[in-house]
């Protein structure tokens, strides 16, 4: 099975034998791949019944859960990494989920479609319509993507939440990465990937 490049990139970021939690794990492809290549253990959280069956078929431990109801069933630091690939834009409160991810896991890995991509900017600027693209195929009225953000928005949120960005990558929908994406991720990256952790020392005064 060919792995999506963002998933392949993630597997380079993960230490062998880690314990993982994948929020919105879909059909379990990433967890199955990481288990087979990096000897990882862990669980996927998923809400869709068909995907739950697919995870079980792939031998992935899957827990039926609604991310909007939180992940309070998990205790602090119980995972090496908490991963969320292309799900943050569907969640009611991405900020709270990010904080929860870094409470439950020592590090977090997040990927999302970048709304700052030039094509999205172009369609709004020149055609005056809400962008829909390969990475964001739905129309504005039926999309599940309720919290779209740009690379810059995301990094601003991380700064506000005292989250440290350990690693960043940007790829296109074919999940290739080329020099313009590395050079100007917010303009040329269609999908952004981040590895995060809580800043060791918290600020005394909120920003």
């Amino acid at each position: 099975m060919e792995l999506r490049t963002d998933l392949a990139l993630i597997s380079d970021w993960i230490a062998k034998g880690s314990h993982l939690l994948d929020l919105g794990c879909g059909d379990g492809t990433l967890l199955a791949h990481l288990r087979d290549t990096c000897q990882t253990t862990g669980y996927g959280l998923e809400i869709d019944d068909d995907n739950i069956a697919r995870c079980i078929k792939a031998g992935v431990n899957v827990i039926h859960a609604d991310l909007n109801k939180g992940i309070s069933d998990f205790s602090n630091d119980s995972f090496d990494y908490v991963i969320m690939t292309q799900a943050i834009q569907n969640i009611h409160r991405p900020d709270l989920v990010l904080l929860e991810m870094l409470r439950v896991g020592r590090q977090g890995i997040v990927t999302f479609p970048n709304f700052g991509h030039w094509r999205a900017r172009f369609s709004l600027l020149f055609f005056g319509v809400m962008p829909s693209s390969h990475a964001l195929p739905s129309e504005w009225y039926n999309t599940e993507n309720i919290h779209l953000c740009t690379v810059r928005d995301f990094e601003k949120l991380c700064y506000q939440l005292d989250i440290e960005i350990l690693q960043r990558a940007a790829v296109d929908v074919e999940h290739r990465t080329r020099w313009p994406m590395r050079w100007m991720a917010n303009l040329f990256g269609e999908i952004a990937l981040y590895r995060l952790r809580s800043k060791p020392v918290k600020r005394i005064f909120p920003k």
Binding site: Y43, D49, A53, C55, I56, K57, G59, V62, H64, D73
Partner: protein, 378 residues
Amino acid sequence: MPDILSPDCVGLVTPQTQKFTTPLKLDCGRTLPSYELVYETYGTLNKNQTNAVLICHALSGDHHAAGYYSMQDKKPGWWETCIGPGKPIDTNRFFVVSLNNLGGCQGSTGPTAVNPETGKPYGPDFPIITVRDWVKTQARLGDVLGISQWAAVIGGSLGGMQAMQWAIDYPKHLQHSIVIAAAPKLSAQNIAFNEVARQAILSDPEFHEGHYYQHDTIPHRGLMLARMLGHITYLSEDSMRKKFGRELRQGKLNFGFDVEFQVESYLRHQGRSFVDRFDANTYLLMTKALDYFDPASEHDGNLSAALSKVLAKFLVISFTSDWRFSPTRSREIVKALLANKKPVSYAEIKAYEGHDAFLMPIPHYIQIFKTYMQQIKI
């Protein structure tokens, strides 16, 4: 009555009886010198004995989980929807063992059996049995059948509690524990329902303090009431509305206390037919086993500690409309397994059927159950 047996049915089956003469020390402190267990098997045990699956029954269940006894039978076994060729518990692949638990009334030693010490039926003197006692007897049955490790132990409701207890008491003797529509212990509300059911039986004048066999009678009113109450808790408001609504049997109000609404007629029928097949003393015992089940109690109420030594992989399934053992209760089990980093999958099935959903052919339930069973290595 089936005219022809469907290809996904195990077909005609015959129960078997196994006598055990090694005394059994029970949780209540008493010892049963000998006892019998009646059981059925479906499918074939493979050469390495790696494909055995144990089915644990719920409150009013028995060993007859699948197939028919004769072509004249009106109904198949109680879990026909899930056991058979090509079904989730695929008898082409698995060797399935289903027994009537100790204390039961369908052939295994229980209150209706003759006490060898007195020559009379045990009646109310039959010792109180716990889930742990059951698991112990099931393990002994496994030994007799030459099964050193079950591929899976599976149960719904009280049966799910047994599947859980198996993983705790005999961690090396099962690969998978499948816990459906269960709970880690009863809530006060659950116990309250059981208590009303018991009081219905105990206060029936025909109960004779449990010695009704000698009086050649049965506490049919009490047992019927107990079953009617139980039945309400196994259904959801939605399923009752769908099944009966406020439909009247004669199409008009009669301003009396006879059966008027369809739901009344249904409950009375369920109660009456239960009296014909079930023993009141067994009902009392089974509800007590439910009430007492609480594996966390030996670990200061810490369920994670109780599950810390399990080796089996878990599949936990709950149903959205089940209010007797709600999804929240199943999630307590899942949470305790997660805290131990144990392998577990959990599915919450959208269903309107209430607690009884675990017996129904609900497509997503069947799909997930079947997929899980298929990936079990034998």
